[in-house]
């Protein structure tokens, strides 16, 4: 008996993340929905074991992001003369730190909070595009979270996230650039790998600016 047909659904499942990849808006919508569902369904389990959430997040997010590109942007001119392996190790460490932060952040959101994905606007090109989303909090505050994507080999991949105007790449770039300038690349990488570098891009609820 030929059981090869059983493989078809499996291979379709494997191909699923790539399905929506022509359309960056759809990609972001799918991904945020998946993430929020994941957290909703397993919240208690994740609270006990944050490492589990981190791993599952990485499974969802890594194929849809271009971390090497983010790493190159963060390094800028400090990346000159580095070996490819060094940049890859840096990108890996960066992504571990991001997943850790993201996992803690996601657990803090509650189910009532909704995500709106806005249609494209502004100057988007064939190569780069910005997808705007809004998270609606309990108090009706809408927090803008934008994803910046680039097209590589026909696929849209996220390389920066901008929360309330604060870009992860920009923030890392300035912090880590300063650290490399003073201590050198290798020491910075060690610290990052040991989890000693944290860069926060926090959502500040109800921030006023009086004074």
């Amino acid at each position: 008996m030929d059981l090869r047909w059983l493989l078809i659904p499996v291979s379709m499942l494997l191909a699923l993340p790539a399905l929506a990849n022509d359309d960056p808006v759809e990609l972001v919508r799918q991904t945020t929905t998946e993430l929020f569902e994941l957290v909703e369904d397993n919240r208690e389990q994740y609270k006990e074991n944050p490492g589990l959430l981190r791993d599952e997040l990485a499974d969802i997010l890594k194929p849809r992001s271009d971390l090497i590109h983010s790493a190159r942007l963060v390094l800028g001119r400090h990346g000159r003369g580095l070996e490819r392996e060094q940049v890859e190790a840096f990108a890996e460490a960066l992504s571990d730190m991001l997943m850790r932060r993201y996992a803690t952040g996601l657990l803090e959101f509650r189910s009532r909070e909704q995500v709106e994905v806005l249609p494209l606007s502004g100057d988007n090109t064939e190569r780069m595009t910005r997808v705007r989303t809004r998270i609606v909090l309990d108090n009706r505050q809408r927090i803008p979270i934008d994803y910046v994507l680039r097209k590589r080999d026909g696929e849209w991949l996220v390389f920066d996230v901008i929360i309330e105007g604060i870009s992860y790449v920009t923030t890392f770039r300035n912090q880590i650039g300063e650290e490399i300038r003073r201590d050198g690349f290798d020491r910075m990488l060690e610290r990052l790998q040991r989890g000693e570098i944290e860069v926060d891009v926090d959502i500040e609820v109800d921030n006023s600016n009086a004074g």
Binding site: L73, R77, R80, R130, G165, S167, T170, R173, R181, A210
Partner: protein, 249 residues
């Protein structure tokens, strides 16, 4: 008493700025393009942090400890409402008619039904909460880029926003009281309650490799977002990739 305090603060500040010559600032060609005065700014930052640790943070922590959250929220709402005229003037100057209307509604609603602004009835009624200040107005009028400047005691700013801050004290009720009646109670309470709101950031600042850069960066990006909102440009990513050898990656 007061002049003596002012004098010793001034001396401490001058000393800090002079000591800044030996600071860790990057050489001029490597500095952030909007922060050419980094050595000076670092010194003032250092001075501010010292003053904060000695005076403001202890006050803010005390306030935070003795004041229940609902009361803190009420105080925050009260000051937001008190500043509403400043916001309205600036929304008008920036030609933001729709938001001016919301702010007017918000001001009337919260002043009348929210007990002088203590309760934010307007937000519950889904009325928008725009922000406006004179630094922003100057930016809308064309002064878009301005050098980063750390002000003694007041913290991160730019030349443009320092000018804006000064102008904004004119229609500000709390500052009018201070100027005309010599009563600094409201201004002081506002500073303490705002600092209390920023207490959670202290841990992050302490964990930063370089807290000066973290503060500058966070402030500049947030400010940019406040001024340009949805229209804010993306960072200039392409300019950051200066190594063409990697094009084939």
């Amino acid at each position: 008493m007061r002049p003596a305090i002012v004098r010793s603060l001034a001396i401490a500040l001058v000393a800090a700025v002079l000591a800044g010559c030996a600071s860790t600032a990057a050489p001029p060609e490597q500095r952030h393009p909007d922060d050419p005065w980094e050595p000076f700014n670092r010194s003032v930052h250092q001075f501010n942090r010292t003053a904060d640790r000695a005076v403001l943070r202890p006050l803010a922590r005390g306030y935070d400890r003795v004041t229940p959250d609902p009361v803190q929220r009420g105080v925050r709402n009260f000051f937001r409402n008190l500043r509403s005229p400043v916001i309205m003037v600036n929304l008008l100057l920036q030609g933001r008619g729709g938001e001016l209307e919301s702010e007017f509604q918000r001001f009337v609603t919260n002043t009348l039904y929210g007990v002088a602004g203590v309760f934010d009835v307007a937000s519950a009624g889904n009325i928008d909460k725009p922000e406006g200040d004179f630094g922003q107005t100057l930016a809308v009028w064309g002064w878009e880029d301005s050098r980063y400047l750390v002000l003694p005691l007041l913290g991160p700013s730019t030349i443009r926003d320092s000018v804006g801050r000064g102008v904004d004290t004119v229609p500000d009720v709390a500052w009018r009281l201070a100027y005309q009646e010599g009563s600094f109670f409201l201004v002081g309470l506002n500073v303490v309650q705002m600092r209390a709101g920023l207490l959670p950031l202290d841990a992050e600042l302490a964990a930063a490799y370089d807290e000066y850069i973290m503060m500058r960066d966070g402030w500049m990006q947030r400010r940019n977002h406040l001024i340009f909102g949805e229209d804010a440009e993306l960072p200039d990513y392409d300019a950051w990739l200066d190594d063409d050898d990697w094009e084939d990656w």
